[in-house]
C-alpha cells in the first residue's frame, strides 16, 4: 500500500512514546546532578601519586626514576630529583622527587605513565570535575596535590589495588626473610667481611 512504510514508522515512534512511560529500558537518561552514574572500575581520567601510610611526604612510593617522564607522549610530566634518599617499603634507600608536576591541561589521560611505572607509584584517578577559573595556575598539579593515599587507591580500583598490595606484601616479607637470614648468617661463619663501602643498590 502506498503509505504503509510511513505508517509502520509512525507505529514505531508511537511504541517508543508509550514505552517510555512503562518500559524501563526505553528511558535511559540519568539526571546528572541528582542521580550520579557510578564510574566503571577501570575508568581513568588524570594520574595521581600513591603514598603508603598516612604521611604523604614520607610514604610516597615514587622513586623519581623519570621513566614516566620519558614515555609520556605529550610530555606533561616534570620531575626534579631530590639529593637526599629515603628508605622505601622494603628498606632499600631510594631517591624521591623534590618536584613532581603534571600539567593536566596537556595530559590526555592515556594511562601510559601508569602502565610503564615499575614502582606502582603513579595510577589513574577517576575524578573528572577538574575545571578551574585561571588558565595556568590551577591546572598545573604539584606533588602535594597529586599525592593520594593507598586506601583511596584501593577504594577506586579495588582489584588492581589488592593485587598490587598482595605482591608488595610478598616482596616485603621475602626481603625481611633475606634480611633476617643475612643478619643471622654473619654471626655463624664469622668470616672477616672486607670493609665494603656502604652498598648502594
Amino acid at each position: 500500500m502506498l503509505g504503509s512504510g510511513i505508517i509502520r514508522g509512525m507505529i514505531e515512534t508511537g511504541r517508543n512514546f508509550v514505552g517510555s512511560y512503562f518500559v524501563k529500558d526505553r528511558l535511559t537518561t540519568v539526571q546528572y546532578p541528582e542521580e550520579k552514574l557510578a564510574p566503571q572500575e577501570n575508568a581513568r581520567t588524570i594520574p595521581f601519586l600513591v603514598y603508603d601510610g598516612d604521611d604523604a611526604a614520607a610514604g610516597l612510593r615514587c622513586t623519581a626514576c623519570t621513566i614516566c617522564e620519558q614515555e609520556c607522549p605529550p610530555k606533561c610530566i616534570y620531575i626534579i630529583k631530590d639529593k637526599a634518599k629515603k628508605p622505601d617499603f622494603v628498606g632499600k634507600m631510594q631517591l624521591f622527587p623534590a618536584v613532581f608536576d603534571i600539567d593536566i591541561s596537556v595530559c590526555m589521560s592515556c594511562g601510559i605513565c601508569a602502565e610503564v611505572c615499575p614502582f606502582e607509584s603513579i595510577k589513574m584517578d577517576q575524578v573528572f570535575t577538574l575545571s578551574s577559573d585561571t588558565r595556568f595556575g590551577s591546572l598545573l598539579l604539584h606533588k602535594e596535590q597529586l599525592a593520594k593515599s593507598n586506601d583511596y587507591f584501593r577504594k577506586i580500583h579495588p582489584t588492581d589495588a589488592t593485587a598490587i598490595d598482595a605482591e608488595r606484601a610478598e616482596t616485603k616479607s621475602k626481603a625481611e626473610a633475606k634480611a633476617r637470614a643475612a643478619a643471622a648468617a654473619p654471626a655463624a661463619p664469622a668470616v672477616p667481611a672486607a670493609p665494603t663501602k656502604a652498598v648502594t643498590p
Partner: protein, 211 residues
Amino acid sequence: MQTLEQLKVRLETAVPGARIEIVPNGSPANQPSLLIDREHGRAVAKFLRDDSDLRFDYASNATGVDWPEKTIKEKIKTRKIVDGVEKEVEEVVEKKTAAYLEAVYHLYSMALGHGPLVIRLRTENRSDKVTLPSLTPIWRSCEFQEREIFDLFGIVFEGHGDLRRILMWDEFTDHPMRKDYVDPDDYEYEPTPHDRVLERARLHYPPEATA
C-alpha cells in the same frame, strides 16, 4: 603473482627502455619494492593496470618519503702497505648518500585479489621544483594523495590536472613533512616548558629572566 624478479623482466620487455630495480626490504614483512625510473613511470603503471594476468586496478596508498643527505661510515677492505707489509686493513670511509624525494605506491588487484606490489618513483634531487609523472590519470585514487604529497613534500606531479595544496592553506610556502622543515616560532606561554620546548620558550623570556 610471480616473484618480483619475473615481474621485473616482464615489465622491462613490455615497456622498452624502462630501467627497473628491486629495492630490498629488511623487515620481516618482506615487501620488497620496484624502483621505476621517472620517464617510464606512467607507461609501466599503465601496463600494470591493463595487463590481463596482473590487473593492478586499485592503487591503495600513495605517499611521499623524504631521504635527505646522510653521511654514512662504511668499512671497506683495502689492501694497504702498512709499515712495509702488504696487509688487509679495514678502513672507515665517509660516504654521502644521494638525496632525493620519493613517491611510494602500494598497488593491489581487486579483480584477482593478490597482494601489495610496492613501486617507487624518485626525483633527482631535493630542490623545490622537482617533478614526477602523476599516476592520477591511471588510478583516480591517487588524486588527493598526490595533492597531499605535493603539499607536504613539494613533489610537483605533471599531468595531475588539479594540483593544489590539500591540507595547508594556499599561501603557505614551505613543505612541513620534509626532514629539514623548521617549525614556525608560534610561541605560546606554557607553565612547564622543559627540554625542546624550554629552549624555544627561553628566546621569548625577558632578558633578565634567562640569567
